[in-house]
Symmetry: C2
Subunit: 141 residues, 2 copies
Amino acid sequence: MLTSQKLASVLRKNGFKVTPQRLAVYESLAGTKAHPNAEILYNQLRPSYPSMSFATVYKTVEILSHLNLITVLNTGEGSSRYDADVSMHSHVQCTNCGRVDDIGPLSVAVLGQEVAADTGYEVTGQQFYFYGVCPACRKQN
Amino acid sequence: MLTSQKLASVLRKNGFKVTPQRLAVYESLAGTKAHPNAEILYNQLRPSYPSMSFATVYKTVEILSHLNLITVLNTGEGSSRYDADVSMHSHVQCTNCGRVDDIGPLSVAVLGQEVAADTGYEVTGQQFYFYGVCPACRKQN
DNA sequence: CTCTCTGCAAAATTTTTGCACTGCT
DNA sequence: AGCAGTGCAAAAATTTTGCAGAGAG
């Protein structure tokens, strides 16, 4: 979670221009735990930026993820979700309502090395997804 | 990995008809470790089934995954990959060439319970993805 | 013989791209 | 002022759907 000033300096440092749209996309992501997709971001930003386009949303999340300022989540729905929390954590998705929640850091610190030793890969990243039924949906049934 | 006979009986038992196309899609998946996507499956099956269509491929993998006979992989590319190995294992993808390899069972058996206790979810499934550079690509650089 | 499945084409969805105009530096 | 960025619309890519004919039970 960066402040707009820090984000601006990171963008500039990497040769990207600082625009209101880019700051707004990041702020929108930093201000939620709902792991929105491009469409939700677009609709959230439209009131403040009536001219906002999907192209800008997609180009911005591409840059932000390339700079490791956000994470892209592929939970297996049609669309990708985005998360401004890039700290080590995993995700769990409700197979009933589709919501995605965070999971605090698991005791998996050594797994990367385990994988590297097992496969010969140089491991640079990991994504753990759990699926199940969220508390709210469990109550309904 | 099921034989065609076993697969046929599982399909029948669940009210699905046994067709050559369905057997062929499964056999194609069971016979590779390359984790193909729909397009690759389609092209592999065309020689034997010239009338094969994407619709049939997609409808078949939908059924097979619903019956837990295959796993759907969402590694973050445009398309989904499919895996006939439904035993407990994880995947690692090369960020350079895109290939996906298997990882033997990790010491993560207790993680599901950890997540359930942490989030209140009833955990029913999990998918772990690792990303990195495969041995072949490491050699090139 | 019935009813599901296949396969074609069209549609729906998500994401990417080309290009003129805007606006950051 | 120069050049990257925005936003529109069109295109691309993947997946889904409707429906007529084919084939499994």
